[in-house]
Amino acid sequence: MTMRTYIEAINAALHEALSRDERVFVLGEDVGRRGGVFRATAGLYERFGERRVVDTPLAESAIVGVAIGAAAYGLRPVAEIQFAEYIFPATNQIINEAAKIRYRSNNGWSVPLVIRTPYGGGVHGALYHSQSVEKVFTGNPGLRVVTPSDPIDAKGLLAAAIVSEDPVLFLEHKKLYRLLKADVPDEWYTIPLDRARLKREGEDLTVIAYGLMVPYALEAAERLSREEGIEATVLDLVSLYPLDRPMIVEAARRTGKVLIVHEDNGEGGVGGEVAAIIAEEALFDLDAPIRRLTGPDVPAMPYSPPLEAWFMPSVDKIAEAMRALARF
């Protein structure tokens, strides 16, 4: 066990993946000599050389498209898209190609590749370094979309993504990169790609969240427990697509009151699908309307500090929404 931040855990998973399987290689912009603009790939170039740690031209469609060809051959590409919003030039390769290759070839071909990308805001990144892109890529059968909320999951989930036979979009919340440390096992381990995780149990209400909002929700839950005796269940979705329906339904049933929290815009966000699943399968167990606390419906997060604070869900805002729902 070593105390590691989220990004150190990701870096560790990459180091181990490259060292245990020669088929694994990393490609992307600035992942080589620079070690990544966030340093997620630090040390890989020095250790594994330019054959396996590849600085690509500035061309995201090619990054993903080349990864598809290499994966179909039998390699295990781990592509980095430098910021989540720069994934959009590769949408065609992701949705029309990677997600559909196994299905369209009747299992003749598959493309086991990982696309890692930092998403989310609260880092003075403005409209183009803060986006939550998950709603665009969830809902495309054949593609998995996952996001870890702590260092232990970050390492184990990335390891699972790399050994998975399916294409995986691996979203890393950039504000989590250095937010907290945890004791991360040094050995290789994997965490299921398709399971939500119960992070806290409590009887008064259920908070369903992912990414940065998970530690925020946990902090809000601790505060409400300490100060007001309100006890919350907190579920980390982990897999944004496909969703873990049984766990979602069970967590909703447990308390009958559900607050869904995400940083992405409300309308059209992943929270809508979560609410729909509950409304389909646990309607009569609900004691209150399903509530969502999300980023506002503006195109993306503004830069100016007061506007950014206005956009971001915070521990305070979550605690406030939890309190209101608990009292409903």
């Binding site: 399987d21 061309a59 290499a70 039998g74 065609n92 070839s105 071909w109 998995r144 699972a160 050994v163």
Partner: protein, 358 residues
């Protein structure tokens, strides 16, 4: 036209013609079946056969990875795909090896022949081919990636991004443009402003070659030389074959809305199938009698393929949920790494043609 100058022996010259003929007749049969209401859709190779067969003949079947596009019936037949397999795809039957009836006809795929699965969005296959070429270099294997596409597709961003990537890494790729001067109805002068497409190779530090796509021997030579350079580590080649599209874009198209009948008649008068046949006769490589026998043989093969495919069962809807994700599930992958060194286990090196992959 000169097969010997291309280092093609007489038997191979005849074999090329036979494949061109097979492609043409198979294509024509699909149109008949379409007009008879039996096939909802046809998209043709007619006019491209010489270029396709010439190019594919120069590849090492089962060794090179091939990423054809929807016109490339001649390419895949040359690589060993059978008329029966083609007809199974055209009829969308369960046995269709490309997709089990999931995809439209001519969206070729054949893992054992190293033909990668194709989609319909134009140009996406170019970066995929670069990925295979990358793997050749990564894995130190002697194969090339061959990818083909139309002139219109050279306008796509993926053309540029893919070839640029291949150029930077000097990857063993052959990018083969079948320039028929149309993208559906859009003529070449509305598509590009450069004198041709081959010259765009310079943007990627690649060799660019323009070749008469009605001359299968010249195309063969261009592809063989490109393959030799690629295997020797000298990087990729962009080959532009000038061809004619003798049919409408597809069975859904009506080309009378955008090109004159005179234009089409002029193209038909220089049909490469006729030209090559004439050449073989003139050079004494084949007799009229042998040609007639060939026609009969090809017809028999196509009749058999059609009958088989028409009678074959459709896929069972109970199977339609399969193969969205790996069936063992990602959980199954939580185990050991496969091939702790260089993955040759998963991807054995294949010496000759026709070897199986996976």
């Amino acid at each position: 036209m000169d097969h010997r100058a291309a280092l093609i022996d007489d038997a191979k010259a005849v074999a090329i013609y036979r494949l061109m003929l097979l492609a043409r007749r198979l294509d024509e049969r699909q149109w008949l079946l379409n007009r008879a209401g039996k096939l909802p859709f046809v998209i043709s190779c007619q006019g491209h056969e010489a270029a396709q067969v010439g190019a594919a003949m120069a590849l090492h079947a089962g060794v090179d990875f091939v990423l054809p596009y929807y016109r490339d019936l001649g390419v895949v037949l040359t690589l060993g795909v059978t008329p029966r397999e083609i007809m199974l795809g055209a009829f969308a039957k369960a046995e269709d090896p490309s997709s089990g009836g999931r995809q439209m006809p001519n969206h070729f795929s054949d893992p054992k022949r190293r033909i990668f699965t194709q989609s319909s969005p134009t140009g996406t296959q170019i970066p995929h081919a670069v990925g295979f070429a990358w793997a050749a270099k990564y894995d130190r294997q002697s194969f090339v990636a061959f990818v083909s596409f139309g002139d219109g597709t050279s306008s796509q961003g993926d053309f540029h991004e893919g070839l640029n990537f291949a150029g930077v890494h000097k990857l063993p790729i052959i990018a083969f443009v079948e320039n028929n001067r149309y993208a559906i109805s859009v003529p070449l002068e509305r598509q590009i402003a450069s004198p041709d497409i081959a010259s765009r190779a310079a943007s990627y530090g690649m060799v660019g070659v323009k070749v008469d796509g009605a001359d299968p021997f010249a195309v063969y030579k261009a592809v063989r030389e490109a393959r030799e350079r690629a295997i020797a580590g000298e990087g990729g080649t962009l080959i532009e074959a000038e061809v004619d599209r003798l049919t409408p874009h597809s069975s859904d198209d009506d080309d009378r809305t955008y090109r004159s009948r005179e234009e089409v008649e002029a193209l038909k008068a220089r049909d490469p199938l006729l030209t090559v046949r004439h050449y073989l006769l003139r050079e004494g490589l084949i007799t009229e009698a042998a040609l007639a026998a060939l026609e009969a043989e090809v017809k028999r093969e196509i009749d058999e393929a059609t009958a088989y495919a028409e009678a074959a069962p459709y896929p069972d809807p109970a199977t339609a949920m399969r193969y969205v994700y790996a069936e063992d599930g990602s959980a199954a992958a939580h185990g050991e790494p496969r091939g702790a060194s260089r993955g040759q286990q998963a991807m054995p090196e294949i010496a000759g043609g026709g070897g199986a992959r996976v």
